[in-house]
Symmetry: C2
Subunit: 126 residues, 2 copies
Amino acid sequence: MSEKQNRIKVEGYVQGCCDPAPGRIPEAADEQVRLMGAMSDPTRLQIVAMLAGQDEPLCVCEIQANFQLGQPTISHHLKVLREARLVTWEKRGLWVYYSLDRTTLERAAGYLSKLLSLSNSPVAIG
Amino acid sequence: MSEKQNRIKVEGYVQGCCDPAPGRIPEAADEQVRLMGAMSDPTRLQIVAMLAGQDEPLCVCEIQANFQLGQPTISHHLKVLREARLVTWEKRGLWVYYSLDRTTLERAAGYLSKLLSLSNSPVAIG
DNA sequence: AAGATGTATTGACGTTTGTCAATATAGTGT
DNA sequence: ACACTATATTGACAAACGTCAATACATCTT
């Protein structure tokens, strides 16, 4: 009554050795997957970090000047960040200015923190 | 003396319209890119979330039972999480048990939080 | 109206990624 | 020794991704 031995045989061959879900499956966290994906490229994460360190928005060429990448590539990365809602943009004349969408980054940071706090809550001691 | 007009012409054609780095470029955050990459797949993020909600480690088959994916695919995702040091593993008899490496997840959460706190510090009000 | 400039879009191409089927490895029980 | 089981590894393949060159679009200047 202690060891793991709940294998289930169906019609002679093994269907699966263990029960599916332990506790509960946390929701799929669909948005979080997209956020992590948006930040999983070195260029994009650095753009996010650049914008995070800034009070004023940055125009595309200012951003581009920090990388050895062509302008279309930077534009592409900015589009990914835009679609993930990690940045907002605003057109002023010829220039387009990007800034960090802090509420979105807060959701990402908050999600990871929530995961960390899921199971180190002080449980029953008796 | 106010508008953006610092284009630099070199030998007749434009070299770049803007100065490269504003403030400072935050370090490349190499590990963070790998962490985000490891969590940018729905299956892997859900595995992380599952482990986060658990006090006891989970064996591979328990994890697999929550997905409609083959065993080699789950094994592959676990390998990615292992290499990112987001999980630790331990072999007990036939089974391999995985648990969350909280210190790594803390670094990821901490990094995002640090980005958020970069520029909303109370600055000069005069 | 015409040229120049900042940015976005398109299309192409090589690389990486997620998945599976097949196989290998290691431990268990008979 | 042999069958069985849990997990990892390998190889293949299609889909997604990062990058660039070329082009389009929008705005400014003259």
